[in-house]
Amino acid sequence: MAAIKVDNLTYQYANSSFPALQSINLEVQAGEFVLLAGGSGSGKTSLLRAINGAIPHYYAGFIKGEVYLDNQAVSSLDHRQRVQTAGLLHQDAESQLVMNSVAAEIAFGMENMGMPLKIMRRRLTELNSALNLTRDNHKRTADLSAGQKQRVALAALLAMQPKILLLDEPTSQVDPVAAEEILTIIRRLNEDTGITVIMAEQRLERCLHLADRFIVMENGQIKGDFKNADNMARWAIENNCPFVPPVPRVFALAGHPSIPVTVKEGRQLLRGLRTFTNVAEHKDDLSVIKPISSDYIVEINKVSYTYPHGSKALRQIDFKLPAQAVTALIGDNGAGKTTLLKHVIGLIKPDRGKVTVIGRDTRYLDVEDLASDVGYLSQQPDDYLFLPTVREEISFSRRKLGRGEAETEEQLIHRLGLLEYLECNPRDLSTGQRQRVALASILISQPEILLLDEPTRGMDYNLKAELGEILKGLVQNGVTVLLVSHDNEFIAEYADEVALMAAGEVIAQGPTSEILSGSLYYAPQVNRLFNGLYEQEVLTIGQGVELLQKYRVRSKE
């Protein structure tokens, strides 16, 4: 008997003109770990909502077909039964927390279910241990990091002991370390307790190896359903679907007969190829990264900064930003990356030292004075959006900054693919589209420097590739890009230079290949795949494919 059965389900939100789900048929067995892949707006969230009963009980709209949980129609279950059967975790941990302290948050669902005090206390203690929350129990939820908040939200859900765990991109808003922790916990829960897991995710490199089954969604439909990852990878490459992590992508694009899923499997495969190391002599044939300019557009000299509440963010920092290149700032949370970025735009003035931006000392400038030369896109694009249409949003910046021609505006709209959304409300658009609107509102003033704080957070592979190409185009047009990111794959593909920060200091700075290659933590998957097997640093998917194809040709010879 299937734990979940979706029978010919079609659903359309009340305020929408097109269906979010179309003729979905799906059966999931008890204890399965299903990975749901798909881009923004593909219907992943709606499918999870339909399984947990929020559709149609909470969200009104047109519905056809039925969802069955343990052979019982969801529409016939009452609120208590639905909550006890399937629990849904959202991607935004901050907004789904309702209580002040961690303990109260975890207990909230149990209290609603009317559980006796003894059981609540016991479950709280167990969950604290299982999710490593014991030390945070009396903390305010507001004081926790994004990763901790997501763990608390997961604990709160598990406290109600649902049979099915539905996870909507649980790691999209957290850093890689926290993401790894959360995924390990989920995998352990699935293996140890037999709980059925359906997880929607966009960054598959983190979790492809965890799942038993892979479902790809597009335009509200199931496009592919696979029992193993290599079949999915092959299918995705053949169908030009972007949901393939770097390792299988390299092998699939190179036309290799076997498709590994993890770095370990990939390396085993490469080692098994007897003539592989022979290609070392052809290292010069590989695409070489372009040299970086020796002109510096931003110079930071001996800058120190301490926040008013006492935490030291920057310590005697020296940093130079090469002109007309993409430079990435990497490092742990709290390393001082965002603080450094805010020094460049002048939002923060140094306590000591000097920041020179395009030859001007920021100590004597207001943010508004720098705004037309330095564009800043924060982690939350929504903060920029308040006007009723995309067109007005872009024009607003042009008026405020007093730069940028109407002609430039039209070009920008075309380049960022916003033409069809001009009369839409920016808040009705998807995450990636919202970000492009915010980016357009900054680029309209044609800044010389563009600062981006975690620009790929919550983005799918397609959107990331689009953003990367936009950045490349900007650099070709003379713009300098400085970005903060935890996305090693994106940095490897698009950054020319990388600066590693830790505890308010720049620990290392240099070309991307020099900093990322062979790094224990910051190396992208492609680099891990080839590291030690080939002399030259291989960082990007393109380089990896090129190398494998060369090898295949030589093998045939």
Partner: protein, 306 residues
């Protein structure tokens, strides 16, 4: 992120009081500041409220709240000074144009100051509520009488610091878009805040949608509901309850005898020494938790008994 504006547990007597008692104290300050008109009584309420905040460890935050209220106070004083014609003692007379003069009276100034004092008490009582009442405990306690109302109250308390953070972040990004917040013209300055307010409003609405769905997914609304928080009444709670209720009796008496009433117009009323004494008694009774807190920190024995 400035989370000093919201509840964070501290180990002192005020924070260990039952949420109902702190709620009673806050409501008490709010109600009496609306009823009293005598500046001495309003000052005693402000002082008592301030003592509670300081002893709870929030001098700096109280100062920030007062700083915020000073702007509003200045508006009240200026408007009252120039637009109230009930006073008789002329302080200032401005000739605007022929035959038209603007008169400011001493009584109007004092009335404005009295109103500002009232505003400060109201804001300080709100500060005490947001800083010293644990929203989770409040939900556990008030939830017995009405879960929905309690949840709205606790969510509001939680949302205030989130909105302060939103405001900080959005102001920053709008500055980077060229929005200037330092215009000399007040009209332009107010207008420049439109992008901030617009973004904040829309983000809050979106957040509330997710929060509502999260509440639904976690069984909110099911009955019967239980509580994991066990709230016990301690001897300290009874002590503060008695002192506050005694204070209420004194306040009722003072109001009945009209000691706490004051007339500013047409001339300032003379202050009788008999009127001041109950104000001092009220200060002592309403500030009792602050006095106990001082002993609570000094003597561990008191800590374990209260």
């Amino acid at each position: 992120m400035n989370w000093d504006y919201s509840y964070q547990y501290r180990d002192n007597f005020i924070y260990n009081l039952h949420p109902g008692i702190v709620l009673l104290l806050c409501t008490n300050f709010l109600i009496w500041c609306l009823i009293f008109s005598h500046p001495f009584y309003l000052a005693s309420l402000l002082l008592a409220n301030g003592m509670l905040l300081i002893s709870a460890g929030h001098l700096k935050t109280w100062y920030l709240y007062l700083k915020f209220s000073l702007f509003m106070s200045a508006v009240i004083i200026v408007i009252n000074l120039f637009f109230s014609s009930a006073g008789t003692t002329t302080l200032l007379e401005l000739t605007l144009w022929e035959g038209n003069t603007l008169k400011a009276s001493w009584e109007a100034l004092m009335y404005g100051l009295g109103m500002s004092l009232r505003l400060m008490v109201a804001i300080s009582s709100f500060a005490l509520f947001t800083l010293a009442v644990d929203p989770d405990q409040l939900l556990a306690w008030v939830g017995r009488f009405g879960t929905r109302t309690a949840l709205v109250a606790t969510s509001s308390l939680r949302i205030i610091p989130m909105m302060i953070e939103d405001y900080r972040r959005i102001t920053e990004v709008q500055k980077c878009r060229g929005v200037r917040f330092n215009h000399r013209s007040i009209k332009k300055r107010i207008k420049s805040y439109w992008p901030v307010m617009g973004s904040m409003l829309l983000s809050s609405l979106e957040r509330s949608m997710i929060m509502a769905e999260s509440l639904y997914n976690r069984g909110y609304g099911l009955k019967p509901r239980t509580n994991m928080q066990l709230l016990r009444w301690q001897s300290g709670d009874y002590l503060v309850l008695i002192s506050t209720l005694t204070g209420v009796v004194v306040a009722v008496l003072a109001q009945w005898q009209q000691w706490s009433s004051y007339s500013y117009y047409p001339v300032l009323e003379q202050v009788d020494s008999m009127e001041i004494l109950p104000a001092l008694v009220l200060l002592l009774l309403f500030a009792l938790p602050a006095i106990i807190n001082w002993g609570w920190e000094k003597w561990p024995q008191l800590r374990s008994t209260t």
